[in-house]
């Protein structure tokens, strides 16, 4: 398909890898963060990191919504799923994320009516088809996903549905990036920017990274050549002494984003004063709730939820992985107590989680051999 095949060309990939090699300064170590879980997945799926010089290190960022959802929110979701007469809907990966007393999949096995959906519009259809049941959609995701929830709620309101509700966990990518940049734990040289988030928000909101923190960022697509070229562009900025927001994914990302999507989001959502991120703690103004105009659709107002903060399991080091402080295989339980089949931490649940990406694409074996 157009825009896909040409970005998987192995010969061009080797040529860009050669450019990267020619751009780096020997003796200097480069630490670049790929913000988005989709980039993490592509890097390991296509072996992009194998084409990089040893002194270019990729660090995984917090851009995996499943990975950053705190256990307490899962407990709230499970509590909602057990409410009588409720059909609880969510994306597939949420089913396996552990709360403090099991997963949504466990709740389903206990009799809760939990259904996987591909789109919030599927949940809306269920509400239409089941007027005598309450249908709750468990909304997660960054700015890429929030418009689909917003559009769905707008439709629900226009149709006058009274049995459709949303438990909103939408988060935004900029606040955790700022938190990471303020963190003394981590020294980064540049960022690979999240391509599809930028189709919605545009490139401009990332200006603070070069302006306030003097770091380059290149917004990148998800094919292997996209990533290689973005890495080369960051390294070139560092070599030239430049520090800018550049858009490698210009074939899709407009500078100002998708104004219609932003408009619908601002109608349906309001900022939460603060929100807990797994491994990162509470970050102010980093998440969305339903606006007053959509309060009737808020599952947390319709039903009482525990709302209790739950600490992560002691053995789990997802927080350090999410901040890029340690590599997945450096976690004490990686590949032993924590595997994709029996995940302790969220980073092992989603295929885009750094731990699952390492595990699924053979990094587990390779890194252990190195040790």
């Amino acid at each position: 398909m157009k825009f896909v095949d040409e970005y998987r060309d192995a010969e061009l990939g080797r040529a860009v890898a050669g450019e990267i090699l020619a751009t780096v300064e020997p003796g200097r170590h480069y630490k670049l963060m790929e913000v988005c879980g989709g980039h993490t997945h592509s890097i390991y799926r296509y072996g992009v990191d194998d084409l990089l010089p040893e002194n270019v290190e990729l660090v995984h960022g917090p851009g995996c919504p499943v990975c950053v959802i705190p256990m307490g929110r899962l407990d709230d979701a499970i509590s909602l799923s057990h409410q009588p007469n409720v059909i609880f809907t969510c994306f597939g990966d949420m089913l396996r994320v552990p709360g403090s007393h099991g997963t949504l999949l466990d709740a389903k096995a206990e009799g809760a009516d939990i259904r996987m959906v591909y789109s919030p519009l599927d949940a809306l259809r269920m509400a239409r088809e089941n007027p005598d049941r309450d249908v709750i959609f468990f909304a997660i995701g960054f700015e890429t996903t929030a418009p689909s929830t917003a559009l769905t709620l707008k439709r629900a309101k226009a149709e006058g549905l009274t049995n459709f509700f949303c438990m909103c966990n939408h988060v935004m990518i900029l606040p955790p990036l700022r938190a990471l940049l303020e963190s003394p734990d981590l020294r980064l040289d540049g960022f690979i920017g999240p391509g599809h988030v930028c189709t919605v928000v545009g490139a401009r909101p990332f200006d603070f990274i070069p302006v306030d923190y003097n770091k380059p960022i290149v917004i990148a697509g998800f094919e292997p050549l996209d990533l290689l070229q973005a890495i080369q562009m960051i390294l070139q900025q560092l070599k030239d002494g430049r520090c800018e927001v550049e858009n490698q994914y210009a074939r899709v990302v407009p500078t100002d984003g998708n104004l219609r999507a932003l408009e619908v989001m601002s109608e349906v959502f309001a900022l939460r004063p603060h929100f807990e991120w797994r491994g990162l703690g509470f970050i102010s103004q980093s998440a969305l709730k339903l606006s007053d105009a959509y309060a009737d659709f808020d599952a947390e107002l319709r039903y009482e939820v525990p709302g209790v903060r739950v600490a992560d399991p002691k053995a789990c080091q997802c927080g350090e992985v999410l901040k890029g402080v340690i590599k997945p295989w450096e976690c004490k339980v990686f590949g032993s107590a924590c595997t994709p089949e029996h995940a302790i931490g969220t980073c092992m649940v989603s295929p885009e989680g750094a731990c699952a990406a390492y595990y699924n694409f053979g990094r587990f074996a390779r890194e252990r051999e190195v040790v």
């Binding site: 998987r8 994306f91 295929p351």
Partner: protein
């Protein structure tokens, strides 16, 4: 660059943007028929885009089109990647 062994992806965490081609213009409810890379047809809400035309390529996330893939040709293929 083989991807055949890839596991299923998470819609949100993968920041999924599936390229699709518009096959049938949207109905009154804003739902258009679009085909994916494999030719499989899907119902996609296109309300968040400017009016789409049959044959146009769009990016789809969670059943909703979030972007056009129709930015000018010169910007589609990064300069350094010309064969």
């Amino acid at each position: 660059m083989d991807s055949s062994a890839a596991p299923e992806r998470c819609i949100t965490c993968s920041d999924e943007g599936l390229p699709m081609r518009v096959v049938q213009l949207p109905r009154a409810d804003g739902i258009a028929v679009c085909s994916d890379e494999s030719g499989v047809e899907h119902e996609v809400a296109v309300d968040l885009l400017e009016p789409v035309a049959v044959g146009e390529e769009i990016l789809v996330h969670a059943g909703v089109a979030i972007a056009m893939a129709c930015i000018p040709e010169s910007a589609r293929r990064p300069e350094r990647m010309t064969a």
